[in-house]
Subunit: 231 residues, 2 copies
Amino acid sequence: MKTKQLLLIDDDIEFTDLLIQYLSPQGYQIDVSHTGVCGLQKATNSKHYDLILLDVMLPQMDGFEVLKRLRLSHHTPVLMLTAKGDDFDKIFGLEMGADDYLPKPFNHRELSARIKAIVRRMDMLPSSSVHQTLTLDDVVMSPSNQSVICAGKALELTGTEFAILHLLMLNHGNLVSKNDLSEKVLGRKLLAFDRSIDMHVSNIRRKLVQHSQPEKIKTHRGAGYIYMVYK
Amino acid sequence: MKTKQLLLIDDDIEFTDLLIQYLSPQGYQIDVSHTGVCGLQKATNSKHYDLILLDVMLPQMDGFEVLKRLRLSHHTPVLMLTAKGDDFDKIFGLEMGADDYLPKPFNHRELSARIKAIVRRMDMLPSSSVHQTLTLDDVVMSPSNQSVICAGKALELTGTEFAILHLLMLNHGNLVSKNDLSEKVLGRKLLAFDRSIDMHVSNIRRKLVQHSQPEKIKTHRGAGYIYMVYK
DNA sequence: ATACTTATGTAAAGCTTGTGTAAATGTTCC
DNA sequence: GGAACATTTACACAAGCTTTACATAAGTAT
């Protein structure tokens, strides 16, 4: 398993140093920010993080605000750490989109176990590899630069086509319902007589078939589509 | 979003009743088991659960053992609940594959928030890919990709055929009435002279028998069908 | 047993509905 | 305004669900 990338956002330097010392030997690569603004920027603008450890009590922009803004664009798992251990804060943090909430002071081994639990769960999801290039048979997909190469030839896909193919490829071998595609790619429920997804799939197929046989996207009537792998 | 299916495993009936009363209005459908053995069986052999709430202190088979055995075949998220709140237990539970661990007594709203956090995370992937497979003798059924493998060969089933076989296999060894099949699969009462179910069963049998003997779907004249298991 | 009745098995025909795709229409962003 | 893309419309087609029809098996009555 690849080294996991963590982002630690906490203004207490003594604490962050301690945590780095404790977690690094366990195989985590850890970046640190000491302010909310800086942490939010790292979380949204730089590389991909597997998990963010977020303190609530931060100067200027507090942890809740960081979480709120992060969730506008990112689904990165967040584990909140804070000295304020009252129930209201816990509930508030979780409701706002945190994955877990651990009050300080905590047992280091419990933190480690909770990090592992979240990372383990994320690894089970196909979307855990959302940012990595994905190769299936003769199709190579690179989310980082929105490019797809099929049998050596680059495909010209639109943004939506790319997103649909991406979701299908992430779930290769598994059925993806048209409703899931609509909700996750187009951001809306699938309405009756809505043919958008069909059209996009049709266009993707046309572009794929130009370079490679056989048909990779299989239809399951009344259910959805499956990206097939033959290896 | 569809109603979430929870499985609550706890021997304290007063507690489970309370929890059901609290969670049901929030849109959860909750099944209960009062023993570890029974809970494990429900979790592995019957329908799909979105989350399992698991007590540690159970007679005969304790929560850790249930979790261990569950994880041999299933990835269903597990939130452990227990009166034993010491760190060692928490860490042990999380290390064994639990997704979260909440010591009793807890604030109901915190439980609710933690359930939501786990469910929210699971919803980020297409709903289909978490479904469990169902294996009986030499037939493997995977709802996630709508495929059935019989004696190593993939079967081409239509959506309705798949739904009927699924219902029969879920209730293997038990009679399923034609009316139940009609209502649950076709969504309508069985009318006089309606032969649809018979036709679908006939088609399923034809496809199954090509690869494996003996007949797996047995008819009970005037009553319904039973999926037979010989092991 | 024998005849009668009723439920089931299944082939084939009929019918409904989802899907593929071209083309027209909207929408968004320079 | 125009380029690029998304969505809707329209229609042909095919998958697959249902009905029909008849043969057969199971149960019931005599």
